[in-house]
Symmetry: C2
Subunit: 198 residues, 2 copies
């Protein structure tokens, strides 16, 4: 029985990942009750992002500036390039602060099933970035899925003619992973890539 | 490394109940990727609510019209009045479509601990609504907490001089509740209010 405006807001929030109809309703109630403290800030933050949202013309990151904050950061090592499937992966790696270089977002992964071909991904622009020079290492940070690994192999072949180091993320036991609970694929990877005890 | 605008949006979303920093980031990424399908609708829904948001001068519900949609609905039985603590409770009862009457939102519960006294709640306006006449039954639908029940008793005393039926929600086993997992308080209530098998 809520008004159409409140109903529309509930539905828009319910479509966010992590929120269902129930939690969206709770969120709306929170916004209605905390008009000054919650609704106002969310509205202005959303407006600011909507107005300035853009895709980085260099790496494919989404940001409010172009080139994006990562590409524009002079402290980053421009000689190392980390290739990821999605913007979310870039953010996850960037949050960990473990990779000091720059990124390249493919915008997806090769998938015969979904009909996603190389020309649907930002692979040509990756090759052009490498061609332009100044890059020593390309880290292929695809997901450890069949499609992610297919994509990594395809890219590795496309760029093998360049005199650069091409690496990919290690596969194996996750930190805290208990053998008993891990899938066979992970166990197989961990066994295959076993190393001498140092 | 996200821009200040994106960071502000993430923080505004993370403050919603049900979303933490992690899921807020996922939600933001979703919004950034689905600019047309998600960001736009959410922004316009939020703007519409922000512009029109108001509190119902009759019952205390939040809505975009005053009197609210529930109070203005001519199909509702104006002789039955359900008193609830919060707008969320009104919405929950309204969703269930089990109560055909109107509502009255107290805006909280009496609490010695939090220093919430009768004059801090919409109790005087409730008494005035009953005084104005036309009401046969008042359902006290407070939470089954100590403070909720204190509030219900207080209100029952305040309105006992009116020739109306004052009822409260039944307490007992929730549907699907297993004795083994229920707290002693619920068991005690269920036992005390036991009924002959019909």
């Amino acid at each position: 029985m809520a008004s159409p405006e409140i109903e529309a807001l509930t539905q828009a929030l319910a479509r966010l990942p992590g929120l269902g109809p129930r939690s969206a309703r709770r969120a709306v109630l929170h916004l209605l009750k905390k008009r000054e403290a919650a609704l106002g800030p969310l509205l202005s933050a959303l407006t600011a992002v909507e107005e300035r949202l853009t895709t980085c013309s260099v790496c494919g990151n989404v940001d409010t500036i172009d080139p994006c904050g990562v590409c524009a950061d002079p402290r980053r090592d421009s000689r190392a390039l980390c290739v990821v499937e999605e913007v979310a992966d870039l953010w996850a790696l960037d949050r960990s602060r473990l990779f000091p270089g720059r990124f390249h977002v493919l915008g997806g992964r090769l998938s015969a099933l979904e009909g996603i071909r190389p020309e649907d991904l930002a692979i040509d622009s990756l090759v052009r970035r490498i061609e332009a020079g100044g890059i020593d290492e390309v880290v292929l940070a695809m997901n450890a899925t069949l499609e992610g690994q297919t994509t990594a192999h395809y890219i590795a072949e496309r760029i093998e003619r360049f005199p650069i180091r091409v690496t990919q993320l290690a596969h194996g036991l996750p930190v805290g992973g208990e053998l008993d609970y891990l899938d066979e694929g992970t166990l197989a990877q961990a066994l295959r890539a076993r190393r001498p005890v140092s």
